[in-house]
Symmetry: D2
Subunit: 184 residues, 4 copies
């Protein structure tokens, strides 16, 4: 399955918004969590921080996704900001867009996540290669990421990165310049 | 040092407010924490819950104290309520009264706490017998509590419990002494 | 139940043999283990070392008891000596005397232990106050020890300590009192 | 560096002896340990067992290597056999051949290992790709193994596996080539 695009209302720990389309060609580790979810705090987030540290010299992109589906008042962006600071999280973190139709936010809905913590790994071709709710061994995560990182970068990935536009916004790029770059 | 009275704005997990004066004659384990303090979440609160479970058949009183001294907006009573629910905490939890003079709440100030987590043990005679900032072994906590629980109940403790009046309010009681006190 | 005396073939980490009769008046923490028992190595022995460290300023006596009931060839005194060295165990350790009648050594048989690890706590009066097979919380162990340590030393305990004689040998002593006692 | 062949005096958990030459074309995870090495027991061996379980459907070969360099009397094959049984280790385990020249056994010497635990990973082409003394994250081990497993099997690996002869012995095979080789 092709990974649905992220629907994000706010980003932390990144100078510019990220999008899966803009990241095409790279492997993405997506960790869905809630700041008041005990298993996320004790297991999922420390594991995600280890992924960030251990794979820092690869082209893996780690993204935390705050998928609030309960206690919305207690887990707003201000609270999340304090949480990120206190837990020393250094990877980019996206706030999943609330839905107007119910408590499940949009990205969580698109991926059919059962709850938090959920780990999702997206391969270089943009497909979901791993999707798991709950707690997983570090060794399994390390192996799955390395296997996907060992795959060759798809031929059209560079082009996709140049545009970087998604339904949620665009990563700066500028038409003729990137065209001439690609064409030269 | 005689344990200063708690200054509490809100209670959770108790039908009626507690006070140290009302608890005179019993040993009290007081755990000061903040819901966004990592060492409290990973160590202090699980330890306090173990105290609650292991000493449930003694007359020990466990009290959690939410001493918010930073990120006040993110740790209000609504957020704490959700936190208590998600972490399945079953002991009485008091919200330390904010101070009008600075970020340190009143009880934290009275006890001269350095930060969170802090564990305080109060003996049957109302004196502070143990005060420690940071992480402590379960075995040490178990031993300190048992030693204090082995002490005889002071002769005047029953009287103190009967009145149950503190500067923060009164626990219902019915003698002429507390009436005259309240009425004067 | 009065704690049966230890039947010991070899001692480590002590200048002179110990005996429960010689220790009368003191609380004793007895940890029965085998060096090839996984739960002993991962849990029981580290816990016993914590007991030794945390209660070092009390009159508690910690004793490890190597109760070999299987793989006898692999767990002889030479192997145990290397094990004690590598695991940095500092409390006195006794080798339970093998039985001529079966694989269960003598002290293990006398106490009716189910297996290893087993923790036994003996009070100041020489009675078994706690006997548990398996894994126990540090907090429970700490509390049980402190409660028993808080008990007054029995009046006749000093005398018992003076003699220090048991069926397994005698701790040196030299007063007319113990002589007259032994002679009466 | 090409991985030196193993020098083995005894094998456990395998019907036939293994050799690196016979395993050419496959990735090998080699864990050097001693049964009385605390970090091996608490960390290295459980990690190796996780490698065995998690990669069981790949062609990875896990090998434990008992490299005794101290307390030789306490860690003979009989003791190791009991240890393997009690710790429920299921991967093949080789006893490193003692050296006539000193306490360091032969394979440990050939690899220049500093001590135990040591983890070594050998790639499909027979080269040492990873060599580390001490404790390593599961995630790193998982990633390194997966990266090497993702490499193509060398063209000549099948031939090497067919012969299966090493300086330590031969795995049964039946072609005239290996016969002539052994006979020459």
């Amino acid at each position: 399955m092709t990974a649905p695009e992220l629907a994000v209302s706010t980003w932390f720990n990144t100078a510019a918004p990220l999008s899966l389309e803009g990241l095409r060609g790279r492997v993405v580790f997506l960790h869905a969590f809630q700041m008041l979810c005990p298993a996320c705090v004790s297991h999922g987030l420390p594991q995600t921080q280890r992924v960030q540290n251990i794979f820092r010299e690869t082209d893996l992109q780690v993204i935390g996704l705050h998928t609030v589906f309960e206690h919305h008042a207690a887990m707003g962006p201000e609270a999340l900001k304090a949480f990120i600071h206190e837990y020393r999280l250094t990877f980019p973190i996206a706030v999943d867009q609330p839905s107007s139709e119910g408590p499940i936010p949009k990205t969580m809905e698109r991926y059919g996540m059962r709850g938090t913590p959920t780990a999702i790994i997206i391969g270089r071709d943009g497909h979901v290669e791993y999707h798991r709710f709950g707690i997983e061994d570090d060794m399994v995560i390390g192996a799955r990421l390395a296997t996907l990182l060992a795959a060759p970068v798809p031929i059209d990935a560079t082009t996709a990165q140049d545009t970087g536009c998604t339904q949620d916004g665009c990563v700066p790029s500028a038409g003729p310049i990137s065209n001439s770059k690609a064409g030269s």
